[in-house]
Symmetry: C2
Subunit: 208 residues, 2 copies
């Protein structure tokens, strides 16, 4: 089946969700035209952007049939269909399901926790968010336990969801590296997690 | 490809995420053995449950090869593969992507907002959650705008993501009906949303 082709990616390289797509594209060896959206200036909340994209979010991907895709995982799934190798979302049904399970588990339990900590405790975000400092601190208090879940999953495993790097590893890498922004160190006892992080950081895509 | 078969679904019919799976199964006409997990008694946080399922969540689905699936959407994707008709997650790549886009958009923007309002403002939940009343009220304050996005999407459309009922409609139905629990009425001006809700409620699956 012939797919519509990518036109441009609405991007913001410093933000975690666009970074997930950028790492995914680097691992695929794919290039796409990018437009940087100035989140701190609220460019994603301007009427023109909302008419085109539908929601105040980056990343978004415009295709040459007029479709605009939102949602990080959806954009990755499109690129996986456009260029299946290297496969990062599963070769058969059960592998797809297993990878999606881990991707979502990391997204909801770890990535969302780091993001909430950042959004609700960082003074620079006060212009963009209805901040609740208490909620930010609740999330900060959960970080070590959530990192521990990832450490436990990585015991005796090289990658999170399959015998190779998948989208689950990318979601986890971006979440873990965002800990720096909320000034939360990884506990030194999480040796499985730290060894995996070293493997991830050795890849050229991690420099993005 | 032959898939492992379902053994039992860890369920809690009154909770929103298990309800999504139950409606999905009813629309497929599938039956599965169920075990009710008593969330208010913390049964999902007991060591036996955590060893089996990995995370303190329902729904979870045990398969006859020992796999335990978590994540509502992942469980639905398994059942979609097990019995493809009626199709609710897409017949080809672009339809799958479009349905996933709407499913996630509703999940993150509407469903999560209703859930946060419930978790952080309902006194009965204080035993299970680190409640932040301010955060609950921020989410309550967003509900009408998020319902408005859904109303706008449904202008001139019978269903949210395709020419038939999909998983996106199920996620939206469960979110919208959970408004009753947080005592938030749907604004009467949202005529597209109210007409869609009537269509959804006319289906036998909505009685679950």
């Amino acid at each position: 089946m012939s797919l519509p082709q990518p036109v441009r990616l609405y991007d913001q390289p410093r933000a975690p969700n666009p970074r997930r797509v950028n790492i995914f594209l680097a691992e695929k060896g794919l290039e796409v035209e990018r437009v940087n959206v100035d989140l701190m200036a609220g460019a994603h909340k301007q009427p023109d952007y909302l008419v085109k994209v539908g929601v105040p979010q980056v990343p978004a991907l415009e295709l040459n049939d007029g479709t605009v895709l939102t949602e990080t995982v959806v954009i990755c799934r499109y690129f996986e269909a456009l260029q299946p190798e290297p496969n990062m979302m599963g070769r058969d049904v059960m592998e797809q399901i297993t990878i999606e399970k881990w991707q979502r588990q990391i997204e909801f339990r770890l990535f969302a926790t780091v993001a909430a900590c950042f959004r609700h405790t960082n003074p620079h975000l006060a212009v963009l968010e209805d901040q609740c400092a208490d909620w930010g601190e609740v999330n900060r208090g959960r970080l070590d336990a959530r990192l521990g879940e990832l450490d436990q999953r990585l015991a005796g495993r090289e990658w999170i969801a399959a015998d190779r790097l998948t989208i689950a590893d990318i979601t986890a890498l971006v979440a873990v590296e965002f800990l720096r922004v909320v000034k939360h160190p990884i506990p030194e006892s999480y040796a499985n997690l730290l060894a995996w992080l070293e493997r991830m950081r050795a890849r050229p895509s991690a420099a993005l």
